[in-house]
């Protein structure tokens, strides 16, 4: 039961983008068309779930026994970066059409704060392996939902008559702020 509350907690209540600010750069930079945003969501989901499993295992079975836990940051960033490179190479080789839709966003994920943020949070909240995977999944589902909604809103913003100086990023930030207000409303859920 508390896995479900963990899932709801991370997907909606403290959503990774709107209340922990983990992945604001991709939110503003890339989400113009909803279909692309969804593809990016899948790519990020795939990488975050694998990354949170691998980082959890490495931390508890390599870093703690060898007492080199001060290498946690560099291990995580290298694992995530090599995972991204591997997934991109794997997609290039096996399925070009998935690469065509998702491939654009894979290199972006290396500098995506959400992936590293989740890995570090799993360790600091000392989840066990199942909770870490559920947390990874919850964060990425939350990320995908927010980025998809954001893309649909931004599509309409293009045709709305926004004041001259608010065009582009400022209005996107204001919309994200209003979305964050809406999300803060359900803070007491968990």
């Amino acid at each position: 039961m508390e896995l479900v509350s963990l899932f709801i907690g991370l997907t909606f209540v403290n959503n990774v983008v709107l209340s922990k600010f983990y992945a604001v750069c991709p939110l503003l930079g890339v989400s113009k068309k909803p279909k692309n945003a969804l593809n990016m969501g899948y790519a990020v989901t795939f990488v975050i779930v694998i990354a949170s499993i691998v980082t959890h295992i490495l931390y508890h079975f390599v870093l703690v026994p060898l007492e080199i836990t001060y290498l946690d940051l560099i291990t995580f960033i290298l694992v995530i970066a090599s995972l991204v490179q591997f997934v991109e190479m794997f997609l290039k080789k096996t399925s070009p059409e998935i690469y065509k839709s998702m491939g654009v966003y894979l290199p972006l994920i290396t500098t995506n704060c959400a992936v590293l943020g989740v890995a570090l949070d799993n360790i600091s909240a000392n989840y066990n392996l199942i909770e870490a995977t559920v947390a990874g999944l919850a964060v990425s589902v939350g990320f995908t939902i927010v980025i998809y909604l954001f893309a649909t809103i931004r599509e309409r913003l293009e045709i709305a008559n926004v004041p001259e100086s608010f065009k582009g990023t400022p209005i996107a930030l204001i919309t994200a702020g209003i979305m964050a207000c809406a999300l803060a409303g359900i803070a007491g859920l968990v």
Binding site: C25, G29, E67, I68, L71, I74, M89
Partner: protein
């Protein structure tokens, strides 16, 4: 000075550089060259960033 630290780091960096080069070597599938949609952001690490294109052209000549 923990020796394991250096061994573990060397292993990790080797894996990362290995996959990085391996990924650079695999050619793009045919219909995917024009990743034009991602032009706006200044994220240097993203291999679609302009910095990487010049470098590719330099490598070829």
């Amino acid at each position: 000075m923990n020796l394991w630290a250096i061994v573990w780091l060397a292993l990790l960096i080797a894996i990362f550089i290995g996959t990085y080069i391996w990924n650079k070597k695999t050619p793009q599938p045919e219909g995917c060259e024009d990743m034009s949609e991602c032009s706006g952001c200044h994220n240097i690490a993203c291999t679609h960033h302009s910095a990487h294109h010049e470098e590719e052209i330099k490598d070829e000549y």
